[in-house]
């Protein structure tokens, strides 16, 4: 019932000229392989959007190179509202500073954010470490290794920032992805993983502190980094819906409203939370500013860590 009301409201607020949009199915590009994290994150939203917009949303997976291959293809698409992309923070705001890509922050029109997973510093439950201070103490005594996806990814940047802020060294061991790194943590070969809290809990790892303003509902006993006495670090992996630059204003508004309605449904919230992720809606205006700010911030971050071109 609630969904129908929200859907009706979304349609009612669309301007008469665009009451027709969308007239046919919309292709959504996910620049990662099917079944991966970003792919699953979008597929949770897909049924909601399809219901609200009344048209199929066809997912097209173009994986490769941290999402840059798909994103580059997407940037060249027609801006008619029938090609959208669902992309994470890495592909849109860190990868452009790491390698030569054909797009930048002006190539896309941000529509809305749908998920924002704050990351946490985690260790193996068998490690005997139960607080950030203990971890830092051990880093001071000897070598602490940290693992995660290839360099340039958010987990990598986050762990580098944590180490830098505490003035210690983590030796980074790149893996194919977060789950491969989790395996090494559980196996005791690597010590630390910085990853979204939900994933950490699913892997059975021990989170020490979350890099966020406030505690998460999913982990009420997990202190924030500030509470743990550490520096004010904020790192999260977010996902957003994008349109190519130049998409008409009315279409963007319609999509923004559909996104707001879709992320508000109980089914969406429940599915996302169940999987260990944190649903978070950010409307177009706020998300636009946030996106552009992240693009700048991450450029500086990457330079600070010694990675930028």
């Amino acid at each position: 019932m609630k969904r129908t009301i929200v859907a009706l409201a979304a349609v009612a607020f669309a301007t008469p000229a665009l009451a027709q949009y969308p007239e046919q199915s919309i292709e959504v590009l996910v620049p990662f392989n099917a079944g991966s994290g970003p792919d699953a994150s979008f597929r949770m939203l897909q049924p909601e959007l399809e219901e609200i917009l009344g048209q199929p949303m066809v997912v097209r997976n173009v994986g490769g190179a941290g999402g840059t291959v798909g994103a580059a293809q997407f940037a060249a698409q027609d801006a008619d509202g029938y090609y959208l992309a669902f992309m994470p923070v890495g592909t849109t705001t860190t990868q452009p500073h790491l390698r030569d890509v054909t797009y930048d922050d002006t190539s896309f029109e941000p529509i809305c954010m749908t998920i924002q997973d704050p990351m946490a510093v985690s260790v193996s439950p068998d490690s005997g470490i139960s607080s950030m201070d203990e971890l830092i103490a051990r880093a001071g005594e000897g070598t602490v290794t940290s693992g995660g996806p290839p360099p340039g990814s958010l987990p990598h940047i986050a762990q580098a920032a944590v180490a830098a802020a505490y003035d210690v060294d983590f030796r980074y061991v790149p893996h194919e992805g977060g789950s491969a790194a989790a395996r090494s943590i559980l196996g005791g070969q690597v010590d630390v993983l910085v990853d979204p809290v939900g994933s950490i809990i699913n892997y059975g790892l021990q989170p020490l502190a979350v890099l966020n303003d406030s505690r998460l509902d999913a982990a009420p006993d997990l202190p924030t980094i500030d509470e743990a006495g550490g520096p004010p670090l904020r790192y999260s992996i977010w996902f957003g819906l994008f349109a190519p630059a130049g998409t008409p204003e009315e279409i963007l508004t319609a999509l923004d409203e559909a996104c707001q309605a879709g992320t508000a449904t109980e089914r969406y919230q429940a599915t996302v939370e169940n999987s260990g992720r944190t649903p978070r809606f950010m409307a177009r205006d706020e998300f636009s500013d946030f996106f552009r700010q992240q693009y700048q911030d991450n450029a500086e971050l990457l330079s600070a860590v010694g990675l930028a071109q």
Partner: protein, 154 residues
């Protein structure tokens, strides 16, 4: 200095592989790989260089083997013309599929490849060339939402 057919082939293949390997090896010294993010392990060209080195070594070994092969026998007769025709048809089809799109280019491609093979009944071939790609597209692209090339021109 009569090399057998097999020996000649070995020499050619070995030489080509050795040259390719050496070229790639030289490429690993280009500027693009000099900007290193070192993480306490080897550089990004370390393992490729080892592999390329092995390739060059082994292919030179193949050349030597070929040169010493006096009684390897002749290679069986090959219908080179038809192979070239079929391969040409394949390449054209792939180019067509990419630039014009699957729906138009694939039927033409299937027909061309079948014709190059010498399939006698052209009518059956024509029907197959139209029906099979269309059916595949209906089931996979429309029903299962698999990605097909749409063509660059359109």
């Amino acid at each position: 200095m009569a090399l057998s057919g097999q020996g000649r082939a070995d020499v050619i293949y070995g030489a080509v592989a050795a040259m390719g390997g050496t070229a790639m090896f030289a490429h690993t010294f280009s500027d693009r790989y000099s900007n290193e993010f070192l993480f306490g392990d080897v550089s990004t060209t370390f393992v490729p260089r080892i592999l390329l080195g092995l390739i060059v070594l082994l292919s030179l070994g193949l050349v030597v083997k070929g040169l010493r092969d006096r009684d390897g026998g002749k290679l069986p007769a090959v219908a080179i013309g038809r192979v070239a025709l079929v391969f040409g048809a394949c390449v054209l089809s792939i180019a067509g599929v990419w630039f014009i799109g699957y729906l138009i280019a694939m039927p033409i491609g299937v027909f061309l490849v079948g014709w190059a093979f010498g399939y006698p009944n052209k009518l059956v071939l024509l029907v197959t060339a139209i029906v099979a790609p269309l059916l595949t597209w209906l089931v996979l692209a429309e029903f299962a939402q698999v990605s097909f090339p749409n063509g660059q021109v359109f």
